[in-house]
Amino acid sequence: MSDEIELSLPIANVGRMMKKILPPSAKISREAKERMQQCASEFICFVTGEAAHRCQKENRKTVNGDDICWALSSLGFDNYSEAMLRYLENFREFERERANQNNYKANNNCIEEKDEETKCMTIQH
């Protein structure tokens, strides 16, 4: 039983997602949230299985974001697949920018340290 609970998504998060798109006056029974929890977990398993199967056929060990997008499309979730490809693109762009910023900071720090060294040497003279 505890295994099952651990393998589903948190009911609070699922409940919040459901409430967000319903009118404010709408109520959701606890059982309905639990059922949605189970369905969402099953959704992850279903799509992952398809993605992993493809990876195995192509002799790849790692399931990546593109595999998930492909699996979504393969299983009939075309609209999700398109949205996820855009989302993935944004994520990768963000990661690239963050990596560039880190490189920039690292280089700037080096330049600042060199300036400090030069100042110290000048003072000594």
């Binding site: 393998l7 919040r16 459901m18 798109i21 398993c45 990876c55 990546n64 998930i68 855009r86």
Partner: protein, 117 residues
């Protein structure tokens, strides 16, 4: 595990703003993915992030459909059978039919047993 960042706000609507960068815990998603299939060996960092968003879309769609059924029954509280009916009446949710029907059969059986007893 890598933490999500502001890229999620790049999507219109700022959907995840209130609940933090992501609506679902990435570690939990990863656990579920690992247990789903023997074919799963390694999972990239971005895969759970994609799922976090995909699950949001999934829950939203199933919730909307279930709510239509709730309204058809002139009710304001969504029940688990509304979710079940939404699954049964949507083709792409066929993979969930056994999950919801099994439960339905159990609850129907329980009601029948009560009546007899």
């Amino acid at each position: 595990m890598r933490q999500p960042g502001a890229y999620s706000k790049l999507l219109s609507g700022g959907v995840s703003g209130k609940t933090g960068p992501h609506s679902l815990p990435l570690a939990r998603i990863k656990k579920i993915m690992k247990k789903s299939s023997e074919d799963v060996k390694m999972i990239s960092g971005e895969a759970p992030i994609v799922f976090s968003k995909a699950c949001e879309l999934f829950v939203e769609e199933l919730t909307k459909r279930a709510w239509l059924i709730t309204l058809q029954g002139k009710r304001r509280t969504m029940q688990k059978d509304d979710v079940a009916s939404a699954v049964i009446t949507t083709d792409i949710f066929d993979f969930l039919v056994n999950l919801v029907v099994e439960d339905r059969n159990n609850s129907t059986a329980a009601v029948a047993a009560n009546k007899l007893g």
